[in-house]
């Protein structure tokens, strides 16, 4: 706490039009030496200036600065004494003197200087603040608290140094006291609210009910805002919003400021609840905003609701925007695009297609194609492969080819899928999609068949989220294929799906079926997956055996380093990750 105050002091003094120290050759030289990092030389130069003008505050501050990196802060004492004698009523000099005695580890002198300083500046908090800070630097929290309390008593202000007292209480895990002090501090200086929230939010969970109870006893808006922010930080953003709504000021501008402050808290969070509350806050802001701004805010609210999965609320916002003739064209277009996204997510693909057709004149070709692909993806996911295929027939972009490859795969057209995936290349879609495509290619390439309807059906089930059925069908297809011609790869995929579904017995059976010497390109991956499964089942010794087999048998496999890492983990040679 003392340090920023000290730096601020230096900065202010450096910026002030002081009586021309820069014109003084002694000061210029001292400052140059300091800037060059010659602290010993600078100290000498500052002392030379002080020998003529012992109360020169700039020189004294300079000396204090350069003695710090020399680890000789206490050496300033003689100069500080001389300065005090020359200017016994200068607050700046008292500050330096206090820090000097603190550096010399003389707490009694610190106290005495603080008392003298307070007599010179009877309405200022600074003497007590500096005194407390020097005690904190000595790790003496009780002495620091005594200094602050003495300041309060002398100044006759119960809220004096409340922020310092709050920090002190937090350091001692006295959360209720910290809360009371922060309330005082924020009421006096609202800028403290952010610090108050960020520090109080760190209170342990058992302390939360007591803090909320204390806050509920307070009646002012400051307390309500702190309560709302804390509730949000502690995982109950909706509760925070309710608290805030009940205390909302009637003044429109003030209310928007309060809501915006709460919104800032919510935007630092990632939960769905926070997103939904964000939508509600934005809706509340929109209700209080002039119509021109309200459209934009409603669009933001709709986007927040969409991110939270609350499609009904999103549609409520968007429908109004898209249909309202008063909505500016750019916002209406964004709203319509977002609405189509909501309709797709709800599975209302025909409605989405109709909206898209209406919107087409306002969209660029790329945007239109992108939305059309999303609708086609929706049809694909519903199993309406023919309609999906026809929707993107004219789309020759790499994203279109990648999607077309998936549609063909689910239709059982293995060759067509492989060709399209290859044509799409590695840059279509995001990284996740590219990885997924590569995985599919690895699965398909060993297959020596142009079409395999059952495999397409199984993978479509997987796409639709029916893992159990997909696994069973994959196993059935795998059993009909030689291990070296894709059978092992399909067993491996089925095994991974079972492991991911929490079916370790089934997963082990499938992975062992994949880890066969007839499929040397698949076996290392299958053995690694099997070892991971065994480790997760606390069967480390069996996993070690499998991993050793992998490393020694497939020593040229790219998976060997990963297998060694797993081996280390299984043996407890490295920390678990």
């Amino acid at each position: 706490m003392a340090l920023p105050a000290r730096f601020l002091c230096w900065i202010v003094l450096l910026l002030l039009p002081t009586p021309g120290w820069s014109q003084q050759p002694g000061m210029t030289r001292a400052f140059d030496l300091e800037r060059r990092g010659d602290y010993a030389g600078a100290a000498q130069a500052y002392r030379a200036v002080l020998s003529g003008k012992p109360a020169d505050l700039s020189a004294l501050l300079g000396l204090e600065r350069v003695l710090l990196p020399l680890n000789r802060s206490a050496d300033i004492l003689p100069a500080a004494r001389a300065a005090l004698a020359a200017a016994p009523s200068s607050s700046g000099i008292y500050g330096i003197a206090l820090r000097a005695w603190a550096a010399a580890d003389q707490p009694d002198s610190v106290r005495s200087i603080a008392e003298r300083w307070a007599r010179v500046a009877p309405t200022e908090e600074t003497p007590y603040r500096e005194w407390g800070a020097s005690e904190l630097a000595r790790q003496n929290r009780s002495a620091a608290r005594a200094a602050y309390l003495r300041g309060r008593e002398r100044l006759g202000r119960p809220d004096a140094m409340a922020a310092e007292m709050a920090q002190l209480s937090l350091a001692e895990a006295e959360y209720p006291t910290a809360l009371r002090e922060w309330l005082l501090a924020v009421r006096r200086l609202p800028g403290y609210r952010t610090t108050a929230i960020s520090t109080l939010a760190q209170a342990p969970v058992p302390a939360h009910p007591e803090l909320l109870r204390l806050l509920s006893r307070e009646t002012d808006l400051t307390a309500r805002r702190i309560e709302a922010d804390l509730r949000a930080r502690w995982g109950d953003p909706l509760g925070g919003f309710r608290v805030l709504t009940a205390a909302m000021p009637a003044d429109r501008v003030q209310a928007i400021a309060v809501l915006r402050g709460f919104l800032d808290q919510l935007r630092t969070m990632r939960s769905q609840g926070a997103r939904r509350t964000e939508g509600m806050v934005l809706e509340a802001i929109a209700a209080r905003s002039p119509e021109a701004q309200a459209s934009r805010v409603r669009l933001e609210a709709a986007q927040a609701y969409t991110a939270a999965g609350d499609r009904a609320a999103a549609r409520r916002m968007l429908g109004r925007l898209a249909d309202d003739r008063a909505t500016p064209a750019s916002i209406a277009s964004d709203a319509a695009t977002t609405l189509i996204g909501v309709l797709i997510a709800e599975g209302k693909l025909d409605d989405a297609a109709q909206r898209l057709a209406e919107l087409r004149p306002t969209l660029s070709a790329d945007d239109y194609d992108a939305i059309r692909r999303r609708i086609a993806f929706g049809w694909m996911k519903q199993g309406n492969l023919a309609r999906a295929d026809s929707a993107i027939k004219t789309d020759s972009s790499i994203e279109g080819l990648a999607l077309s490859g998936r549609i063909h795969l689910y239709q059982g057209d293995i060759r067509g899928a492989v060709d399209r995936f290859k044509e799409a290349g590695p840059y279509a879609g995001d990284r996740g999609e590219a990885t997924h495509r590569t995985m599919l290619l690895a699965l398909l390439l060993p297959l020596e068949k142009d079409s395999l309807a059952d495999l397409g059906g199984a993978l479509l089930k997987l796409e639709q989220g029916d893992t159990v059925q997909a696994t069973a069908e994959l196993e059935r297809v795998a059993a009909e294929l030689p291990a070296s011609q894709g059978g092992a790869e399909l067993y491996l995929l089925a095994g991974r799906l079972s492991a991911g579904s929490g079916k370790p017995v089934e997963a082990e059976r499938l992975l062992r079926a994949a880890a066969v010497k007839e499929a040397p390109s698949t076996a290392p991956a299958a053995e690694l997956a099997l070892a991971e499964l065994l480790i997760s089942g606390r069967r480390g010794a069996e996993a070690v055996e499998i991993l050793e087999h992998l490393i020694l048998t497939y020593s040229r496999s790219a998976l060997v380093p990963q297998a060694r890492r797993k081996l280390d983990e299984a043996r407890g040679a490295v920390p678990k990750t």
């Binding site: 680890n71 790790q139 020694l552 280390d568 490295v574 920390p575």
Partner: protein
């Protein structure tokens, strides 16, 4: 193996090693050379490979200063398999190539040291897991070198004599809980540490934890005196010597033993009882987690803390001073420094008999030291974790699979294999 044996045994010429086993994994060469230069794929596991070969009863050699301290192992099936599993580079070597290498060793500052027996290793550690990592335990685990954990009952119960090698890490033998008592008051791990140590002191019949830790330090000194090998890191180095030198002087703060530290403790220390240090000034403040001016870096004293630099390993004559040479085998000569509660050792506090193995050139401190005590030897290495220069309480332990070439960790493992060496007669 005790140091008396170690020093007195002579070995004229190099031991002829017999390859064991007949299985080969694609190689008919009778030897494996495990290079320790930049071609090595896992420096740390190479020590484990050698240790396990010794454990299986085969003999090995350590080629000091040859390819950064290479190992020669017989090319038996077990070693070949072990190297493949560990990912350690082991080059097949025929007899002709070996003769050529031996010729080279004769000519330069190099030598071959036979490794005979896997040392029995003990690590001094409390039964619970403190909230900081332990570099040696991690190195041993990663390399696959067996060890047993011992704590105060075992040390005071004479169990140390069953081991060749004892490791100490972040331990406070002054009994002041690393001087974290005030700054971390209320932390669950500290409460547990204090309770556990107090209960142990009571159960062993000591009036306080400092008194009990002083007795433990004495037992450790006795272990070395009778020929044991001691390796210590971090604050165990400094506090062990302080506890030994205190010899009844109260150097513990009141929270540890109920009464304040003797204000004249510095003047009353008996440094002749210590391993490495002398004439140190003790830190009197109970709130500053610093013990004395032995540590050059004073990491927990904001006004005295020194920045980290790099330390340089000394070169020793492999033929005349093989012990020191073994301890500094490395593929790097200059290594980035790392903090610990004790990071380094002030030159002014070192006893004249101490051998400096690594120093920061121009700095008033050194990093890595070695010496003899009675019939045994000790090695002190400053700092906490060579691959986590500013390891904080509560930080996750270092994953050594991400640092398989760590030169700092190699220094720790040099100490593990050093007791396996059969020392040759010193040349005059």
């Amino acid at each position: 193996m005790r140091r008396r044996e170690f020093v007195s045994r002579t070995c004229a010429g190099l031991v002829a090693l017999s390859p064991v086993g007949s299985l080969r994994f694609g190689s008919s060469a009778p030897w494996l050379l495990v290079p320790m230069d930049d071609t090595q794929t896992d420096h740390l596991k190479a020590y484990g490979l050698t240790y396990r070969a010794l454990k299986r009863g085969v003999k090995a050699e350590w080629f000091l200063n040859y390819r950064s301290g290479a190992f020669l192992l017989p090319s038996d099936a077990g070693t070949v398999r072990d190297a493949a599993l560990a990912g350690v580079l082991a080059e097949p070597l025929d007899d002709g190539q070996l003769v050529q290498i031996r010729g080279g060793l004769q000519g330069g500052n190099m030598d071959a040291v036979p490794l005979e027996k896997p040392p029995k290793v003990a690590v001094y550690a409390p039964p619970n897991a403190p909230p900081w990592d332990d570099a040696v335990t991690m190195a041993l685990n990663y390399a696959g070198i067996e060890f047993e954990k011992v704590w105060d009952p075992e040390v005071l119960g004479q169990k140390l004599k069953t081991y060749d090698w004892l490791h100490l890490h972040h331990e406070d033998f002054t009994g002041q809980y690393s001087k974290f008592f005030l700054n971390y008051a209320g932390s669950a791990w500290l409460v547990d540490m204090v309770e556990r140590n107090r209960a142990m002191a009571r159960s062993l019949g000591f009036p306080s934890v400092p008194a009990e830790k002083g007795a433990v330090a004495g037992a450790i000194a006795n272990f070395v005196d009778k020929g044991g090998f001691l390796f210590a890191m971090c604050t165990a180095t400094e506090t062990l010597d302080l506890a030994l030198a205190a010899n009844g002087v109260d150097i513990a703060a009141s929270y540890a033993d109920g009464d304040p530290m003797d204000p004249n403790a510095t003047a009353r220390m008996r440094w002749d009882r210590a391993f490495a240090f002398q004439n140190a000034q003790l830190e009197l403040s109970p709130t500053t987690p610093v013990y004395s001016d032995i540590d050059g870096h004073q990491v927990n004293s904001p006004d005295r803390r020194q920045p980290l630099g790099s330390y340089t390993l000394f070169n020793f004559s492999a033929k005349i001073d093989p012990v020191a040479t073994m301890l500094v085998q490395n593929h790097r000569q200059v290594i980035p420094d790392f903090y610990g509660l004790t990071t380094s050792f002030s030159r002014k506090t070192l006893k004249p008999s101490v051998t400096v193995l690594a120093e920061e050139p121009g700095a008033p401190w050194v990093k890595y030291i070695h010496g003899e005590h009675g019939q045994g030897t000790w090695t002190f290495f400053g700092g906490h974790d060579p691959e986590d220069p500013q390891h904080q309480i509560g930080d996750a332990p270092t994953d050594l699979s991400l640092h398989p070439h760590s030169p700092g960790y190699r220094l720790i493992l040099n100490n593990v294999l050093f007791p396996a060496a059969k020392k040759k007669e010193l040349k005059t």
